[in-house]
Amino acid sequence: MKKLFAAAVALVALSGAAYADTIKIGVIGPFSGPFALQGKNFKAGIDAWFALNGNKVGSDEIQIVYRDVPQADPARSKALAQELVVREGVQYLAGFYFTPDAMAATALLQQGNVPMVVMNAATSAIITSSPLVVRTSFTTWQTTTPIAKVAKEQGVTKAITLVSDYGPGIDAENAFKAAFEKEGGKVVETIRMPLSTNDFAPLMQRVKDSGAEGLFTFLPSGPPTLAFVKAYNDNGLKTRGVKFYATGDLTQESDLPALGDAALGLQTTYHYAVSHDSPENKTFVAAAEKAIGNPTELSFPAVGAFDGMYVISKMIEATGGKQDAKKAVEAVKGLSWTSPRGPVSIDPDSRHITENIYLREVSKDANGKYYNKEVRTFEKQGDPGLGFVKK
């Protein structure tokens, strides 16, 4: 028994020596619980990147260490990030689905000499909390602003906003209001709905009574989106001609089969649709679908993760595999490349991704599959929300 133990220890020590130039990346995300689908998409994006580019940058081998934070839980996220940096010795932190989780971990970056690549969390303020944060996803301000313009152009002068009552929802409300009023429209009412709302009929009555010609909504993807869209149809708002606008969170590809015909024609703006027509995206989708197993589950966090891996690979190249957070972040400032979502670049000042935002319409293809059809492109959108972050 003792011999066996000694052998095991020796083996571990040996293998440790053999992987001396392995670079570890710690990825924090929701891999279990109600948001596991989003974590699964992170993993699919990362695996797709490995499948297409191999797991080596130069002579350094990349290894991913996953840590699970099932629901927004800043304390746990920080503890896990610390464990990753101190015990696992990761050189990069990445992932982060929820804003509070990312915010909590930024406090460790400076001392740990570790850059953070945010692959999803979409609040403008994250980027300002540490100079070592780079983001490859989007912000709610970024995806919301163009839809206000669309609404105004389609003849809506009075709009009402209905958002889920939490950080990103309030961001969306402010963004829509700012953009819509700049275009000369008027937001007649702003309603914040509790996250636990499951019957939206009374709210639809509110919309009717407000006399608005269009409604803008922000809901996190998941069960409420279905009930919301149904309530919009069933309560006769659609037949009355009240127009429906939302960000792409509402028509996430994985929810579309459930939404079905009820969602046909809904207009949303977002940074990525799985159906995006480009050779880069076709290659990406093929690899990511293989990685995730079930193609219907693939959606936007995968592309954030895929591009996050690209950015990290560039950081590793620039630092030659040595741990130097500042140099790594400097190296990717202004970096531009063609992502599966279209041309993107890292803005040198904000370290946030500049990308195209697309206006999409839910359509049905020849096989009866629902998808987000991109109908218009707003090119090179930065993050308009940054100016509104409280310093």
């Binding site: 619980g33 109600p34 596991a36 689908l37 699964k40 009552d165 309603i191 914040r192 709905m193 509790p194 636990s196 709302t197 499951n198 019957d199 009929a201 009374p202 709210l203 009555q205 509110r206 009574d209 998941g222 069960p223 279905l226 009930a227 149904k230 149809n233 069933d234 309560n235 006769g236 037949t239 994985s254 929810d255 089969p257 459930a258 079905g260 079930n294 219907t296 589950e297």
Partner: protein, 287 residues
């Protein structure tokens, strides 16, 4: 006036959905005295059965409901025999721990087999669309739910108060040992009432799926609401559950219309008031 009527219709519809799903829990908690936290899990299983039958096998909606009820009861029979039978009469903590454990197992298994995405039960053409009531339109499906709710209430009341089985059930609850001594097979009575409760859960899961969409966390997500309905109505009381659902539905809907930013404040305020004034629920039948 139009708005008031409109809210009243919404409240009735929402209340009836709550009723259909919660009444089964009222039966297990009030009549069988089992704090069944797995009730939502059984409703969810029913929903998944129906979703699979209607969406993937292309069967009709009515067939889907039938398959959901029968399928869920078939799953529940061994669970009752081997797990629930041990906790009849056990301390409530034991019951809570075991049933919540079952819930987590069901969530895990569902997530593994069907994946985390939303599932729907497609409606037949007859129930799709909406009906114009003159002052507003309401989804046809909601009218169907309202009718189902009243039918379930009437049927259950008849079963418990007017049939031979109902007499045996009530006797078993009041004094199981004495009833058994009189030649009633109390085990059978329990098993049948458990099956009825599960069947109601499954039925509710299917017809409520438009409002409470099916996904693996369904089993936990709505459990608090179901428990609230039972405690406000008085466990085991059918009229109590009906009144509670209509009342809570009205308060919740009105609150959501007038002041959505307050969230569920009014809902829970009402619950606190009612439970303080009527500790056994509005129509508590227990001693």
């Amino acid at each position: 006036m139009q708005t008031v009527l409109s809210i009243a219709v919404d409240a009735l519809a929402y209340g009836m959905v709550l009723f259909v799903i919660s009444i089964g829990l009222s039966v297990t908690m009030g009549l069988m005295r089992v704090v069944n936290l797995a009730h939502g899990a059984f409703a969810m299983i029913g929903g998944y059965f129906a979703s699979y039958a209607v969406r993937d096998l292309g069967l009709g909606y009515a067939a889907g409901i039938l398959i959901a009820i029968v399928g869920t009861v078939i799953i529940a029979i061994p669970v009752e025999r081997f797990l629930y039978r041990r906790i009849y009469g056990a301390p409530q903590l034991t019951q809570v721990l075991m049933t919540i454990g079952i819930t987590f197992c069901v969530i895990g298994i569902t997530n593994f087999t069907f994946g985390p995405t939303l599932k729907t039960v497609p409606l037949p053409a007859m129930l799709q669309g909406s009906v114009d009531l003159g002052f507003r339109s309401i989804a046809t499906h909601r009218i169907f739910v309202i009718i189902c709710g009243f039918a379930v209430a009437a049927g259950l009341w008849f079963l418990i108060e007017r049939t031979n089985f109902g007499i045996k059930l009530r006797a078993t609850i009041d004094n199981a040992a004495m009833t058994a001594a009189l030649g009633v097979r109390t085990e059978l009575v329990y098993a049948v009432s458990f099956a009825v409760a599960i069947a109601l859960a499954a039925f509710g899961g299917v017809i409520g799926a438009e409002l409470l969409p099916l996904e693996p966390y369904y089993a936990l997500r709505y459990m608090v609401t179901f428990l609230v309905v039972v405690s406000v109505g008085g466990a085991g009381s059918i009229p109590g559950a009906l009144i509670a659902c209509l009342l809570l539905g009205a308060i919740d809907t009105t609150g959501r219309y007038l002041a959505p930013e307050y969230g569920e404040f009014f809902f829970y305020l009402a619950v606190i008031l009612i439970v303080t004034l009527f500790p056994r629920g509005l129509v508590g039948r227990m001693k």
